[in-house]
Symmetry: C2
Subunit: 560 residues, 2 copies
């Protein structure tokens, strides 16, 4: 018997609030079709690749007095990629809608991510299972995985496995890549007249699956609240002890939405935004100069302490680092077949050879790195021999470079402060938190709505719940054709149809708010302490959502 | 204008519940004296060192119908050492009691820890200041510091500064060392007939200031809940992704109460307890063998994932490491004056010299360490040339040693699993969290009670609030003579009177619970997910306290 924490027991009883239209019940919905849609770019190519699913209309649901009865329908659900708080509620939403539509309907959970549908590994979800996972974090109900569902063979075996279970609807809960694959699978099934519909659900704590149709992916709200709790607690510590600079790296490699949201919630002294670094073509030493400048200015105010937020993906956005790493990836396979190199026993000697063989500008960048980071670049390489950028401790790299910079400034007499550092990396801490009330409601609605889309015969759609700054009752439920969000991008040397990843817009309202405040936050102390996520208590505490959503909503209103 | 988070606004309004006796009001208390007390050990020496404050009775408060009026009284308060959630409520409790007793009374906050009273740096606390800090984390209301208040000169200047402000009562909020110093200061003032009373308050997240009179120090409840939230979230992630072993180091150098409490709240696969390692004289390689055994067994069950908790102070409890570090501390000053050593440019050459100069058994231990740790031992040394044990990344040391061990086991064919690691260190994340309802109430009562002790003329006492497993209304408020908790211990080569530090008792009920369950938790998965601290909602969620307190309370009942 599993032991449950008091909070888990209490959360199992929480009843998510559905949008009023969906709350009418799965048998009392009508589908409103909008105009035909187009992809965001490359319309001709996307249409050619998705002849059966392209150009479909946006749809929304409305409640209706007349009751529809439906044939039985079995559905399979897949959790894909990294965990995000609320995944279990998506599954619960699908389950409740499906059983409401017809108690004979069955929901199968494919195990361990997309591999489950390919290999035919599944469980049938029951009341007992679903009830044990309502409003809890994690993807452990059926597990997740990173297998990409994209080849003809995989589609074929998925079809076989669906046929065995009489599954005619699949819900794929995932990020931009998984939803791209959902679109391809939907098209493929349609081209084969397989009679299997595919619906996607927008998941990722990174917040980069977002566009004019998707206000936010699920999990972002809970994850950023969890990181903000920790950053706020550390700021309170910093402001009490007044002796450390804390460097906090936050998860999110391809975009800095997480870092930006956490910055707005906590107001630290320094926030680095990868997208800005790239746009300004900043070098590592320019980043270090920017940080050192704030450290020195604060020191002159008697404040040898502070907090800096660093995005996980930073160095991939620094042009000179990107070029150097690419050069290194090209160079290393050759070197590793060269006995003159492999016979060298000391790291220093190997590094000397590498420096000689890199292009001059890349060698200069390599030379400028602290010893610890050079070693990480050479040691932690993936099976293809590539540098594992995610393993590079960017926060420590910056600290090491700052120490050198501050030492120089001390020699020059422009800095007389004390610099003591602490570093942190927050990522896993937030991916499986109990979903906030917002994510609990949002995910349940996404799941319920996903089944409604299936029930109404749609395929190649993303489950869409909008107007999220309003109360859940007033949210709008419907569907967006997946192809509408696609364009062509180069991936591994080939042009492929993909859902556009949303980077932080430097002319957007969220970054603008940071930009307008960061000088003030750098020198004065405007720390905000959000504290732990609350699931109970005053609504203004327990039900607020992110500043990102709020600011983007306000901006969209002013555009109308 | 400072921006407040929604939770902070809500928490400012929270009204702590006082024990019923204190709730009668500061003017309606009577003091009940118990029997005279003795120190826990070394009675003769302690009595000799504390002639004026030794042997005083335990005291408790009762409510009374008759109203007492008091002369005006000014008090100074000091926050000493590392932050612990609830410190602001102690200050608020003192303030409210003091103003209730007489609105003319003044509360001064000495700034930046004990240095504030020595240097005469202070602020007068007002309604406006206090109201901005009620039920918040951190020590930022007046700051904290680590200056030790122990010399004659320091006492003398403290006296001068108190005289200037007409302060006749001091409350020192701190850990075992700070309370030892409070006892010395109380004795010193008494010996000078200074007319200044000193009261201590038991603070530390480490939970090692605890004895038959103190059930728990404040902050332990909130800090362990914060760490348990994070460990639980990571466990849910581990159990969803099923691909990583997470090694989590938890703050607490001198005792493992934090690690033990977090283990009971979350039930991870591996929990190391420093006190057990010391008692069993375990070597580092024995610890690694113990961990590797569990990793291999889980791998055979198809589980290449897990969570291990590691106490921050671990290596100081490993006898061979302790001896080696001592040897290194003795050796390095000599080496650093030897040009033959200092002229060496490579770390490898230096390490070779060190190995030769260490005693044979210590050299063997040094040799067995991963390169990264050897470098940390030699680089991060304090101003006295000593190894900074707190900077050694024990979690990474164990991971490196495990990788080697598992590689060997793979070569021997006894292990065929995959080992991917993640490491974390949680400490600063929990020291300044918003205090839990328990810590909010407990701290407010400790502060209120501290002023009551002053008002009744006591000095050299610790503010004591007991029966903490009951509802706050039923808590017993009173005082314990500080000397009662003291014994003689060797510190820096000299015997000194100190308050005994409480280590984890291996025959105590808390460790026994871990011991009874850890084999099961190691191989089966019994993860518990506590989630974020809740301040609102069902009482069984928002008001529960630690398992440590509960189990020790139950054990104390069975002893009666």
């Amino acid at each position: 018997m599993t032991e449950l924490s008091p909070l888990q027991k209490a959360r199992l009883k929480f009843k998510p609030v559905l949008p009023a239209t969906l709350a009418a019940g799965i048998t009392n919905l009508s589908l409103i079709e909008g105009n035909a849609t187009e992809s965001v770019a490359d319309q001709e190519q996307i249409q050619k690749l998705f002849p059966n699913t392209y150009g479909k209309p946006m749809v929304t649901f409305e409640g209706t007095a007349s009751t529809t009865t439906f044939e039985t329908k079995n559905v399979g659900v897949i959790l894909s990629g990294g965990q995000a708080p609320g995944g279990h509620n998506v599954v619960a939403g699908i389950y409740d809608a499906l059983k409401q539509a017809n108690p004979e309907n069955k929901l199968y959970g494919f195990l361990g991510g997309p591999a489950g549908i390919i290999d035919g590994k599944y469980i049938e979800l029951t009341d007992e299972i679903i009830d044990a996972y309502r409003n809890t974090g994690g993807f452990d109900i059926i597990g997740s995985g990173r297998t990409k569902l994209e080849t003809e063979e995989q589609f074929q075996s998925s079809w076989e496995n669906c046929k065995k279970l009489n599954i005619t609807g699949i819900v794929i809960i995932g990020g931009d890549d998984s939803n791209t694959n959902a679109a391809m699978l939907a098209e493929w099934f349609k081209s084969k007249n397989a009679g299997i519909q595919v619906i996607g659900c927008p998941k990722t704590i990174d917040g980069d699956l977002k566009n004019s149709q998707i206000e936010i992916s699920f999990g972002f709200d809970t994850a950023t609240k969890t990181y903000s709790e920790l950053v706020g607690n550390i700021q309170r510590d910093v402001n009490s002890a007044k002796k450390y600079w804390h460097f906090i790296k936050l998860m999110g490699r391809s975009a800095t939405h997480v870092g930006l949201e956490v910055a707005l919630q906590t107001q630290p002294n320094i926030t680095l935004i990868s997208e800005e670094v790239e746009q300004k073509s900043m070098s590592l030493s320019q980043i270090v100069d920017y940080m050192a400048d704030i450290i020195v200015k604060r020191s002159k105010l008697g404040k040898n302490f502070g907090v800096a937020l660093i995005p996980e993906g930073l160095i991939e956005f620094v042009p000179e680092m990107k070029a150097m790493i690419q050069n290194l990836n090209d160079l290393m396979p050759t070197l590793e077949e060269d006995p003159n190199f492999t016979q060298l026993t000391s790291g220093v000697e190997k590094e000397a050879v590498i420096e000689k063989r890199l292009k001059a500008e890349n060698a200069a960048v390599f030379r400028s790195l602290p010893a610890m980071i050079k070693a990480q670049l050479l040691m932690d390489r993936d099976p293809h021999g590539n540098v594992q950028v995610s393993k590079i401790e960017t926060e420590k790299l910056l600290i090491e470079m700052l120490k050198i910079k501050l030492y120089q400034m001390k020699q020059e007499g422009v800095y007389t402060g004390k610099f003591s550092d602490q570093s942190h990396f927050f990522g896993y801490e937030g991916r499986c938190a109990f979903p906030s009330n917002f994510d609990s409601n949002y995910c349940y609605a996404l799941g319920y709505n996903a089944f409604a889309l299936i029930q109404f015969g749609l395929t190649g759609y993303l489950s869409s719940v909008r107007d999220l700054t309003k109360a859940p009752q007033d949210w709008i439920a419907g569907g967006v054709p997946l192809t509408m969000m696609m364009n062509m991008e180069r991936r591994h040397g080939q042009m492929k149809p993909v859902i556009q990843k949303a980077l932080v817009k430097l002319d957007g309202p969220v970054f603008k708010k940071l930009e307008a405040n960061r000088e003030k936050w750098a020198l004065e102390d405007h720390y905000v302490f959000p504290g732990a996520i609350q699931y109970f208590g005053p609504s203004e505490v327990a039900d607020i959502t992110t500043q990102t959503l709020k600011l983007e909503h306000e901006a969209s209103l002013s555009l109308v």
